[in-house]
């Protein structure tokens, strides 16, 4: 079933997807133009595997019982951003069960933080909101936490609104791996886990973050914001006003390094 000798392939929702050795399921899928929802995956960073939005089922089986009924045995659930693609694997992503699960995860993120989209500068280009739209999240379902979180406006160019942090660690990874500055870390465990700035005062203004740093430009939601640039694009013309997040999946595919 593989196309050629060195191209291997697997099946995603019954469609054949070619992949290169070492690619994860999500990388191969996005490269082939198939969208798998994700939040903590980013094409330029090592996978983190924490949000579980990209969960797929691998190798479900259908069996026939003694009394002639066909029963589906669900395959194992795995984060497609950390699971390497394997030849002949059967991967399910776009199923009612997985869409329900993703919807629930998004709802949990929305009630855990304080997400008041109408007053958020990221609205219209926020990945969490865009995913919620795509999944048809009409309600938070769960009771709101109304957690008490701070805003840090000490930096001259960059504002932090911790109310909206989803703990994806993209800023942590960007600052450590790309900027080599280690401006951000996560601290605490479980319910008390939160993002901190690595300065003596704990304030962003006392770090060496620059507005041009990767870390200042990678947040998928409305935490790390550039001062004096709020609400620049009018309603109706923002990124996810014009196209849903799942549109054109190759925009999230890893950039191929030329060999």
């Amino acid at each position: 079933m593989s196309n050629g000798q060195d191209t291997k392939s697997f099946f995603l929702d019954d469609e054949e997807i070619p992949f290169e050795e070492g690619q994860t399921i999500i990388q191969a899928a996005l490269t082939a133009g198939k969208y798998i929802p994700h939040l903590c995956y980013h094409p330029e960073f090592k996978p983190h595997g924490s949000c579980k939005l990209c969960t797929v089922r691998i190798d479900s089986r259908t069996i026939t019982t003694e009394d002639g009924q066909t029963v589906k045995i669900p395959g194992r659930a795995a984060a497609s951003c950390t699971t390497p693609a394997q030849a002949e694997q059967h991967v399910e992503s776009n199923t009612p069960e997985l869409l329900d699960l993703r919807r629930t995860l998004v709802q949990m993120l929305l009630v855990e933080g304080n997400h008041f989209c109408p007053s958020c500068e990221k609205s219209g280009k926020c990945m969490l909101q865009g995913l919620a739209y795509d999944l048809g999240v009409m309600s938070p379902h769960f009771p709101q936490y109304f957690s008490k979180r701070e805003v840090d406006a000490t930096h001259p160019d960059v504002l932090l609104d911790f109310n909206r942090c989803i703990l994806c660690e993209l800023c942590v990874r960007a600052s450590a791996e790309v900027d080599k500055k280690n401006v951000f870390s996560l601290s605490g465990r479980g319910n008390t886990k939160h993002l901190i700035c690595n300065s003596e005062s704990g304030k962003l203004g006392d770090t060496n973050l620059a507005a041009t740093d990767k870390a200042a430009n990678v947040c998928p939601v409305g935490v790390i914001l550039h001062k004096r640039h709020g609400f620049e694009v009018p309603y109706g013309q923002r990124r996810f006003d014009t196209a849903p997040i799942s549109d054109n999946p190759v925009q999230y595919a890893p950039v191929k390094e030329q060999v």
Partner: protein, 185 residues
């Protein structure tokens, strides 16, 4: 709707109200423009700011509620709606997660009142007339107080979103908005 029957159907009774909201959702409702003439073939308004009827009839079919719950009166009105409407719809961001009024939830209510009414030079008079509904410590989404059957997000949802939602519902379909109509802002 079932188009084959010519016998006039009973119109559905619809009640609407705004709790801790800004009436923006009601204004957006009016943005369905002339389609309200089609709508009025299918529904009649009961208690609503549009009719000025003060209390719900006991046999309302649909209650549409804008705004969250921020004071004791909101709680009473919400219970009246739940008791008298078969289906309750939470419309708009505030009804769904408290919205902008809920941004006060991280602050102490005494501090807020003091900051507004007891500033130096402005006297110390926190309003306490019994006519004024008592503020709750926190603003709550509707579904934390009563069961809500459907949610229509947006701040406000557009006239088109409201139209799509209501026509789906009146036709017996699960309302579904799709890209462009589903909005949290």
């Amino acid at each position: 709707m079932n188009a084959s029957t010519s016998a006039p159907k009973r119109k559905l009774k619809v009640a609407t109200t705004s709790l801790a909201g800004c009436f923006g959702c009601h204004m957006s409702f009016l943005d369905i423009d002339e389609r309200i003439l089609d709508l009025i073939e299918l529904i009649e308004f009961d208690r609503s700011p549009l009719t000025d009827i003060k209390h719900c009839s006991t046999d309302c079919d649909i209650g549409i509620i804008e705004g969250g719950v921020c004071n004791a009166e909101n709680v009473h009105v919400l219970h009246e709606f739940r008791k008298n409407c078969k289906i309750l719809i939470a419309i708009g961001a505030c009804s769904i997660n408290g919205g902008l009024p809920a941004q006060r939830n991280s602050l102490d209510i005494r501090d807020i009142l003091a900051a507004v009414y007891a500033q130096p030079g402005r006297g110390v008079h926190i309003p306490n007339d019994p006519e004024i509904p008592l503020l709750l410590n926190e603003v709550h989404p509707l579904h934390e107080v009563v069961k809500i059957d459907y949610f229509l997000p947006g701040c406000p949802p557009s006239g088109d979103a409201i139209w799509k939602f209501l026509t789906d519902l009146l036709a017996g379909r699960t309302p579904s908005l799709g890209h462009g109509l589903i909005h949290f802002d």
